[in-house]
Amino acid sequence: MRLVPSPGLHEDSWHDEIETALHGEDGGAAGAAWRELRADVRVLAPPMSAEFERLLSDRVGEWTAAPPDDKAAPQRRLPRRGFKRLRLPSGRLRLPSPGHLRTAGLLATAACTLAIAGLIAASMQPSGQSARRELRPASAVPATRRNRVDELGPANPSAGVKASAGASGGVSNAGRAEAAANVPAGGEGALSAPGHVQQLTASVTLSSSPGEVQSLADRVTSLAVRDGGFVQSSQVQQQAQGTSEATLDLKVPSAQLSSALAALGRLAPVRAENQSLQDITGEYDAARRNLADAVAERKALLQALAKAVTQAQIESLRQQLALAGGAITRTQSSLRAVSRQASTSALEVTVVGDARAAGLTLHQGLHDAGRVLTVALVVLLIGTAVLVPLVAMCVILLLGGRAWRRHLRERALA
């Protein structure tokens, strides 16, 4: 065997020597020895099979024959007739396609960014202003708080009287429960907690253009009447310049307050809303107690009248009976008034006609444009804030994955 001479002390010159020899330049005996060693190493590997060589040549010929700008060619041809399919029917040794991985990564990142930005923007949306939305009264929300409703309405004022008549003094929960049994199905209104009588009030401010204040007030009135309510007072103030305003004090059935508020929200943009709930159980109980007392007193007077023997006693008892009858009438009125408070809700609607709400003016246009730009900037800022850590994480994962893959490959050589 021909031995290759040892390299010199300088590695660079050794590399130059071997590069010269391997690239076919003469290099003397040493060069020939290197070339011989290379040939010996190369011949250890069996040559390519004729069939594979032919396939490879054909395929490379196809590729080189394709127009250089035909970008769709590899996607069209290779998945069907590529060597991956020809040589690897079982799919082994399949390399990941970096293009597909990159596209999938970009799509996933974009989707995550949009989803997170949307969630953040949704959570940051202001809750009370300048939005058409469905309004629901506070008492209408919890289902468990709808069990007693409206039994005190004008249509059924005697329920409380009957209950109190059965009880000799004060008002029992059984009386309220009996009244609750008379509630029509689907009723919804003033009573929220079991055993409590409550009064609802609400106020809504609608925005409109100055010219539409009157018509909007009319529509609000129609709405209240349609829902079984009425207008207690109204005031419309029209000005030649500046703002116009209409104030309407409405009374609507408590059961209809929810739908009335929702309908108002559909009529015009709601600028502000306020709802309050007041417990009037004490007033209600006091009125029923007074009624029961008056009824009991009248009953006692009637019994006394039956036993009276002198004319003076009879006259005196009749006068007292007249007074007792008046007291019963008053307490019944008082009870009806309390019942009415509970069964009807006060709804104050303010319609504000503002020139800025008129639309299609230069000022409004500039204002809207400013808002659009602000929102766009906020979304951009949120998107960037979301995207930066996501991209950083993706880069770290990508680099880590590459390093790990390389480490695994290098371990295959260990």
Binding site: M1, H15, I18, L37, L44, P46, L78, F83, L93
Partner: protein, 154 residues
């Protein structure tokens, strides 16, 4: 390239798979080929190397699913030159005595005829490191051949 793959894998079928994949990948990614980052040949060998190492890893995980073919010795059997046959046997033995990393460097150098810069690109190391590895591997190969030759003479 095919020779490098078959020397690394010892299996003609896998070597052909890897070669085909390398060409296909090169064609599909030809638009992204940046000559400043390396020659197409270095890129091809890098693809072949990665695929071959993946296959070696797969064989480690599933040793029963593949059987490495013995290198084709048809050429040797038909060779009439005894001296050449002996020399090749010596080279094969000396090559087998090298570590896998050294074998790989030798195979890349001789099969791929890669420069040190291209080798560095394929192996993902610096050019200086590649030159050192080449020097060390070829020196050990040469010394191994000499040692085997001396043993044969003795």
């Amino acid at each position: 390239m095919h020779g490098y793959a078959i020397s690394l894998l010892g299996d003609r079928q896998s070597a052909e798979d890897v070669t085909a994949l390398a060409f296909e990948r090169l064609y599909r990614c030809r638009a992204r080929l940046d000559s400043a980052r390396g020659t197409p040949r270095a890129w091809l060998f890098a693809i072949v190397r990665n695929a071959a190492l993946d296959e070696l890893r797969r064989r480690r995980r599933h040793p029963s699913s593949s059987a490495a073919d013995a290198p084709d010795t048809e050429d040797e059997r038909s060779s009439s030159a005894l001296e050449r046959a002996e020399r090749r046997a010596t080279v094969r033995t000396a090559l087998a005595l090298l570590s896998r990393r050294e074998q790989e460097v030798v195979l890349l150098k001789f099969h791929g005829q890669l420069s040190n810069g291209e080798l560095a690109r394929v192996l993902g190391i610096s050019e200086t490191n590649a030159g050192t590895r080449v020097h060390r591997a070829l020196t050990r190969l040469r010394e191994g051949c000499a040692e085997l030759d001396r043993q044969e003479v003795a």
